[in-house]
């Protein structure tokens, strides 16, 4: 973005997030709540809006919505109700969406964001409520017709609405990652943007940095990747500041983001204008959540990522960086802790070694293969079996890496790592006489290098130890090699 524009204007951004809840069945009927079934196979008279059918509320999404609210320091509104939002759209079978309007389950919370570049900032959460998802319109299978798949219809959604407290695409991104992490920690949702389980509407306006009047806001609908959100905000800031710089006015608009052209496009105003005629849903009864139930849910909240970071630092003596990386994804934190549980020698050094092994070796493979830790072939128990001999200095790091790199291909084969180590003669050589013999041999083979070393060329030492290690096939304990080598030189 042009720098001078950003120096002059400040974007004011609020988000509406729609999160598909992890549940076995839909919110108002017992159809499976799954993502990738054959079209129109997970539907029933209720979610197809057949005449005479009625909704019955699934308890789990209610609990997960409250847990989300608690994790974001919201007020939990004990007495709430559902409402109908009336509008016609082909993927909305009843002609209305069941949602919450006047009384959301949670309101007035906040969540904190920070990074190296952005100091700690509170983002206020206006409300969090429950609603049902709509079906899917498929526009690209025919020239003249839209095809409809109602499997998604009725999947429970949690809508999170922020106050307009975000002021840059970077803050938005940071906030989204934070929310995603929280929801994953709570096991509310997998937040998979590609599969549409986390979708985002962005409200955006710009104001002069030194002014205090906020401009007219626009709304960008249905963004479904971190990149698109970032790009859409960038382009909308450009569009709005462009209009203002040219003396124009922003009109309240609903926009779509055109991914190909990388621009925000206003919808025809006719489509945008609506009167949803909200009123209380007469087919459902009031929700009245008792303080005791809220307390119970509060006690059932899993450890938050912040709490986990603090605990990892204390319990495992990890540094800030290590703790943050290992807790960034709940599943990685769990992987680490399960590994540590299987480590035989439990001390800070071995915890650190295990942690760093996961950070440097495991995460590298995950990144390279673009898979999640849940799909990683080596179990924490197997990893511990590999790390144990390393910690006990029975094998060298080089050997450990070699074994590790061949493990993912045939995870079954490595169920008994100790046997493999013995079988392949990979045990680290710590026998001093054997090492001394090799050192002697190498020095005999390289008389010139020995002379150079003695004349003060210290760098040649790396070459010589390299040769020694080569002869030891990487199995020697480097500490012992260095120690013996120094003895030799001094002789």
């Amino acid at each position: 973005m042009q720098k001078n524009i950003l120096e002059k204007y400040q974007p004011v951004i609020g988000l509406e997030l729609h999160v598909q809840v992890n549940s076995e069945s839909k919110i108002f009927c017992s159809c499976p709540s799954e993502f990738d079934a054959e079209p129109n196979t997970y539907v029933c008279p209720v979610c197809l809006g057949h005449p005479g059918t009625l909704p019955v509320l699934n308890k789990l999404p209610v609990e997960l919505c409250i847990k989300t609210g608690l994790a974001m320091d919201c007020k939990i509104n004990t007495k709430t109700a559902f409402a109908r939002k009336n509008y016609f759209y082909p993927d909305l079978p009843k002609g209305y969406q069941i949602t919450q309007y006047e009384s959301p389950l949670c309101s007035d919370g906040y969540t904190e964001i920070y990074s190296k570049d952005i100091p700690l900032k509170k983002i206020r959460i206006k409300r969090i409520h429950l609603e049902e998802d709509a079906g899917k319109s498929i526009h690209d299978l025919s020239e003249s017709e839209t095809f409809l798949d109602f499997n998604r219809c009725g999947i429970p959604l949690i809508e999170i609405v922020t106050e307009p407290d975000l002021n840059s695409p970077e803050e938005v991104s940071l906030f989204l990652h934070k929310v995603k992490q929280t929801l994953e920690y709570l096991e509310v949702s997998d937040c998979n943007m590609e599969q549409g389980s986390l979708r985002c509407d962005v409200n955006i306006s710009v104001k002069l940095k030194n002014g205090n009047t906020t401009g007219t806001k626009t709304e960008i609908k249905n963004l479904n990747s971190f990149k698109n959100i970032n790009d859409a905000i960038d382009s909308e800031i450009k569009r709005q500041t462009g209009i203002i710089e040219n003396g124009g006015k922003i009109s309240f608009n609903t926009l779509n983001y055109d991914v190909k052209e990388k621009i925000t496009v206003p919808l025809r105003s006719k489509e945008a204008e609506n009167d949803y005629r909200y009123f209380s849903e007469p087919d459902l009864v009031y929700l009245n959540i008792s303080d005791a139930q809220i307390e119970e849910l509060k006690n059932s909240l899993p450890e938050s990522s912040e709490e986990k970071i603090l605990r990892f630092k204390k319990e495992y003596s990890l540094n800030d960086y290590e703790s943050e990386i290992l807790t960034g994804d709940k599943n990685i934190a769990e992987y680490f802790e399960r590994t540590v549980n299987n480590i035989k020698i439990k001390n800070y050094a071995s915890f650190k070694l295990a942690g760093n092994w996961i950070i440097n070796e495991v995460l590298a493979i995950l990144n390279e293969k673009n898979i999640s830790i849940r799909n990683f072939k080596i179990s924490p128990e197997s990893l511990a079996k590999l790390l144990n001999p390393l910690i006990e200095e029975k094998i060298s790091r080089t050997t450990a890496k070699e074994i590790f790199s061949s493990m993912p291909a045939e995870p079954g084969k490595f169920s008994d790592i100790e046997a493999i180590i013995l079988e392949k003669d990979l045990l680290q050589v710590s026998d001093k006489t054997e090492i001394e013999e090799i050192i002697k041999k190498v020095l005999d083979e390289n008389p010139n290098e020995l002379l150079l070393l003695k004349s003060g060329k210290v760098k040649i030492m790396n070459f010589l130890t390299g040769e020694i290690m080569k002869k030891l096939k990487g199995k020697a304990n480097p500490k012992i090699v260095t120690e013996l080598f120094n003895k030799f030189i001094k002789k």
Partner: protein, 96 residues
Amino acid sequence: MPVSSEDVNKISKLAKLKFSEDEKKKLQNDMSRIIDYMDKINELDLSNVEPLENINETENVFRDDKKKETISREEALKNAPSKTDIFFKVPKVIKK
């Protein structure tokens, strides 16, 4: 008349209904008479009355999160006026 012809136009758009000019006039007339009649409700002092939404004022009716067998796709599509073997069909928003 309390209901204007603009009201009739606006409401029919929201309700996805259309009427001939004659029908509109009659509808405006009917609606106006009914709304006039309904206006009697404004005589009531309702300032301290809570709206009644749920007649038995029952609370917290839930089902457990268990999936059940659904109907077949064939059944789901059985009543559809326009469909393929697997999808329901509607005309596009704008016809090309």
